[in-house]
């Protein structure tokens, strides 16, 4: 069995985990990070992409609001390339209590969130698709953030400081010896073999799965998975983040992120973060919520629906509405709490405070280890963000225009050229097209892979020099993966698309009868 030695083992490749790996590596620790899947396939890759100004929490949870605006500023400095400065609007829609707006303004001021009331006419001029019957409008520094970009940038930064980032490595068990965690037994799910990792310290940053990992060290940690669904609409119905000016509720926000706009979200307790459905009522609820913010929403094209589970830590016995559980993050020192040393769990929180969560975690770890190293993660920009320039939506267009005649456009919807695709395939050393999707957005546009899946498979077959059957698996798996997110929300224009895609895959290519196709199998 292969073994690895490291100072710190981080379990969990979401934003918190890579944040911890980066912070620890920058402070001089050798670090290994493992995740059972690709990076950011947990909650981090499944939210709506909002970089909170904190406005949403100013009345409900002022502390969280303060944290948000504080981190918002830092992330804008260090991760500009991952952020689109869309700005945000809080609007009082006809179903919102008008009095809330004044409390909102007060709360923003108290938390230090820049807020400005603008005339409704001005708000509608900026966002002509918004509900024209809004009564008040306020601007705040919301933005949209690409979580995969951010996570991979952190990972690359961590790697630059010597970390080893290991996706597709699942923790089978933690090694506990003499009242301390000594490392973990991990399975390389791609290579097939087991790996033993010996570590001086283990950080459990596995989000909604934190309870499972902690249990491996004999520590009881209750994390309530709070499922929320989101729907991506085919194009940006708004170019500013639009929030309902009201206490946090379901479907109170539309986020323009990359080429889509996302309506979200719901909140439903589930028992198991790996086992839950998207049901019809939730979907209809989000459609109605969208219609309230953007009239005509239901006639727009819904591209895809997905869900994520919020990791909500609960110390006491379960409450009814998971939204009442505190959202500020939780750092559990297991030496103090459970008598197990060299082990911390960081859970709860939200994406926009991941850096702060990581800082708290590594600070605590340093305290445990008697190491005195300051955190510098707020000072050093992430790779590609060195110029401090925000992401802008036209950047892919600009790049494509420059290579119109020399490079082929493979995923036309999301403007992914062939060279970029091939480079991603080589760099990731993967034959899973879903991994590639997360890296370059292959298949994430209106046709949901109808045109680009065949092309990408042909290229994969060539570039990775794999056998036809392996390529076929990639194709079929990706077709299934795209279908998974489309079928619960399939209507109107997207159904047209899906039928055309059926014609392409089955009618023209006949993929159901590829050698090795598992059509019909369990």
């Amino acid at each position: 069995m292969a073994t690895l030695q490291t100072d710190v083992l981080v379990i969990g490749g979401g934003s918190t985990g890579v944040g911890v790996a980066r912070d620890a590596a920058m402070r001089g620790f050798s670090t290994v990070l493992v995740d059972r899947g690709d990076l950011a396939t947990g909650t981090t890759g499944r939210f709506h992409g909002l970089l909170h100004s904190g406005g949403r929490y100013v009345v409900k949870d002022p502390k969280a609001a303060e944290e948000c605006i504080h981190e918002n500023r830092i992330l804008r400095r260090i991760a500009a390339d991952c952020i689109e400065d869309t700005g945000g609007l809080f609007v009082t829609t006809p179903i919102d209590a008008p009095e809330y707006a004044d409390r909102f303004v007060e709360g923003c001021r108290a938390a230090g969130i820049p807020v400005e009331e603008i005339p409704v006419a001005e708000a509608l001029r900026r966002e002509p698709r918004m509900n024209p019957y809004i009564s008040r409008a306020f601007t705040v520094p919301d933005a949209s953030v690409d979580s995969w970009k951010t996570v991979w940038a952190c990972a690359r930064s961590a790697q630059a400081y010597g970390s080893r980032i290991l996706p597709y490595h699942e923790v089978l068990d933690l090694t506990v010896d003499g009242g301390a965690v000594r490392g973990a037994l991990v399975k390389d799910r791609r290579g097939g073999e087991d790996v033993r990792i010996d570590a001086e310290f283990v950080v459990n940053a596995s989000g909604a799965w934190a309870g499972r990992i902690a249990a491996m060290a004999g520590c009881e940690v209750t994390v309530l998975p709070g499922k929320g669904i989101m729907i991506a609409m085919n194009h940006r119905l708004v170019n500013t983040v639009v929030n309902r000016c009201e206490m946090p509720a379901d479907g109170d926000i539309i986020v323009p992120i990359r080429t889509v706009s996302v309506i979200g979200t719901t909140d439903q307790k589930v028992a198991d973060p790996d086992d839950w459905q998207i049901n019809r009522d939730e979907v209809q609820k989000m459609m109605d919520a969208g219609e309230n913010l953007v009239p005509g929403f239901r006639r727009a094209r819904a591209l895809r629906v997905w869900g994520g589970v919020r990791p909500l830590y609960q110390d006491k016995a379960e409450g009814a509405d998971t939204r009442d559980v505190t959202r500020a993050h939780t750092l559990l020192n297991h030496r103090q709490r459970d008598g197990v040393e060299r082990f911390l769990t960081i859970t709860g929180g939200k994406f926009c405070t991941f850096r702060l969560m990581a800082e708290d975690t590594v600070d605590a770890m340093c305290a445990e280890l008697g190491v005195d190293q300051p955190c510098r993660t707020a000072d050093e920009p992430l790779p590609d963000s060195e110029q401090g320039r925000y992401y802008w939506l036209g950047s892919r267009v600009e790049r494509r225009e420059a290579t119109l005649h020399e490079d082929q456009l493979i995923c036309e919807c999301e403007l992914v050229p062939r060279r970029r695709l091939e480079a991603a395939m080589r760099r990731r050393e993967t034959i899973d097209l879903d991994d590639i999707r997360r890296t370059v957005r292959l298949g994430m546009g209106p046709c949901q892979g109808g045109f680009c899946i065949y092309r990408a498979t042909g290229i994969l077959h060539q570039v990775e020099k794999i056998a036809g059957e392996a390529a076929n698996r990639s194709l079929l798996d990706f077709v299934q993966e795209r279908w998974k997110g489309v079928q619960p929300i399939l209507y109107g224009d997207q159904l047209r698309q899906a039928r055309l895609d059926d014609w392409i895959f089955q009618g023209i290519l006949d993929v159901a009868h590829l050698p090795g196709a598992w059509v019909g199998a369990a």
Binding site: R298, Q408, T457, Q487, G492, L500, I508, D510, H513, L514
Partner: protein, 420 residues
């Protein structure tokens, strides 16, 4: 002077009905928002490919196929009609020179290397028939991103053919001339029409071919000059050359569209492409007008004695599922069957499982007239053809063009009968 018949839809079903009606001497107007699936799908006439197992003899298989599926549109189309429609098309478009009959399916390689059953295929695709095995070289074009012959050949070599024969397949990548890195299938079609270009391609390819190898190209061998292009290439390479259909646009399908459109216009038909049929006016159980939405802010009704709905299914927007889960037929407001009750899933999570809405569409009587929810003929003078018909899953059965052709043919027959 209104037309005798109005056909709504310019796909294979609509054009077939239109040409037959016009040729029978009826004043026929064909309206459509745009071209149909002729531009997207290969022009092979797939009568029945999978039932769900591979079908070798579609004419024979139809009887038992429909007995198991009484709601299938083929249950309203006798085998003789299917056969007659195929012969009619063959005779109508000599430029495509269709090969094959509905008695037997050929097996042609798809762009991903699966042997796919088709009954009638254009001559330029026929040499790709895999049933007798053989040796094949597939040519990759430098700037065509819609064709991957290496993957095709890899899969084809593993394919299990029913006759037990095997196929030897390999890929040859060409560095054909040109400055652009990203050329569309139509762009290549025009390039292949140039003799000079063909000469360069043949010169590069010939020395790399082995004896006894037939050559498969992506379906880009010319458009208006297709026949000359294909024959010349075949001549230069000294061996059978065939086309393999790939992603849309379907250059081969566009050839069929042009031939059908020209036949329609020659027969005196009036073609109105670009406007949407937004509704209809009816009087009791008779359709009196189809209402067109042209550029002006007014409705333009067209009245006629007979009407044909050939607007397609969900892919074409003719059948529409709204965000609440309700289905509508957009021109005549016809009942759509095969839709699960509101509140029940329309689709299931696994792509290849049986999808609850897969066969949703318009139910018709034996003369192909749409039925209402009680099973009665909705309008005496309205007929339906093509992908609008419910009860079929043509992309899975591989029956799309067969159904479109046969139903368009049958509808015209029914109307002509009624007219005399």
């Amino acid at each position: 002077m209104s037309p005798d018949a109005v056909v709504v839809g310019a796909g294979l079903a609509g054009l077939t009905a239109g040409v037959r009606l016009a040729q029978a001497g009826l004043r026929t107007t064909l309206v459509a928002k745009g071209p149909g699936a002729t531009h997207l799908a290969p022009p092979t006439i797939d009568v029945l490919g999978y039932a769900p197992d591979l079908v070798e003899r579609p004419a024979d298989a139809l009887a038992s196929f429909v007995s198991e599926r009484p709601e299938h549109p083929y249950a309203r189309l006798p085998v003789d009609t299917v056969a007659a429609s195929a012969e009619w098309l063959r005779a109508l478009v000599p430029s495509l020179a269709y090969v094959g009959t509905i008695e037997e399916n050929l097996l042609l390689p798809t762009a991903v290397g699966v042997p796919k059953p088709s009954a009638l295929v254009p001559e330029a695709m026929a040499a790709g028939d895999l049933r007798s095995g053989g040796r094949f070289a597939f040519a990759g074009l430098r700037a065509l991103k819609d064709f991957y012959p290496r993957l095709l050949a890899d899969n084809l070599s593993q394919a299990k053919l029913p006759t037990g024969v095997t196929v030897d397949a390999r890929a040859v990548h060409l560095t054909d001339p040109g400055a652009e890195a990203d050329v569309s299938p139509l762009g290549y079609a025009r390039m292949f029409e140039d003799q000079e270009f063909r000469s360069v391609v043949a010169a590069e390819l010939l020395p790399r071919l082995e004896p006894g190898e037939s050559v498969g190209f992506p379906s880009v061998l010319g458009l208006g000059e297709h026949r000359t292009t294909w024959l010349d290439l075949q001549d230069r390479l000294g061996r059978p050359v065939f086309e393999v259909p790939t992603l849309p646009p379907s250059v081969a399908g566009i050839r069929l569209f042009h031939a059908l459109r020209d036949a329609f216009v020659r027969a005196g038909g009036r073609l109105l492409i670009g406007s949407t049929a937004a509704g209809a006016e009816t009087n009791d159980d008779v359709v009196t007008h189809v209402v067109m939405q042209t550029a002006a802010a007014r409705a333009t009704p067209i009245d006629a004695r007979w009407f044909v709905l050939a607007t397609g299914g969900f892919a074409e927007g003719a059948l529409f599922l709204d965000s609440y889960g309700e289905v509508h037929e957009s021109v005549f407001g016809l009942a759509v069957t095969g839709v699960p009750p509101v509140g029940e899933s329309r689709f299931v999570p696994r792509y290849f499982d049986d999808q609850p809405m897969a066969r949703a569409g318009i139910s018709v009587d034996e003369r192909l007239r749409p039925l209402d929810l009680d099973g009665n003929v909705a309008f005496r003078n309205l007929f339906a053809a093509g992908a609008a018909l419910g009860g079929a899953e043509p992309w899975r059965e591989l029956s799309g063009n067969g159904l479109a052709l046969a139903s368009g043919f049958a509808v015209a027959s029914a109307i002509v009968e009624g007219a005399s």
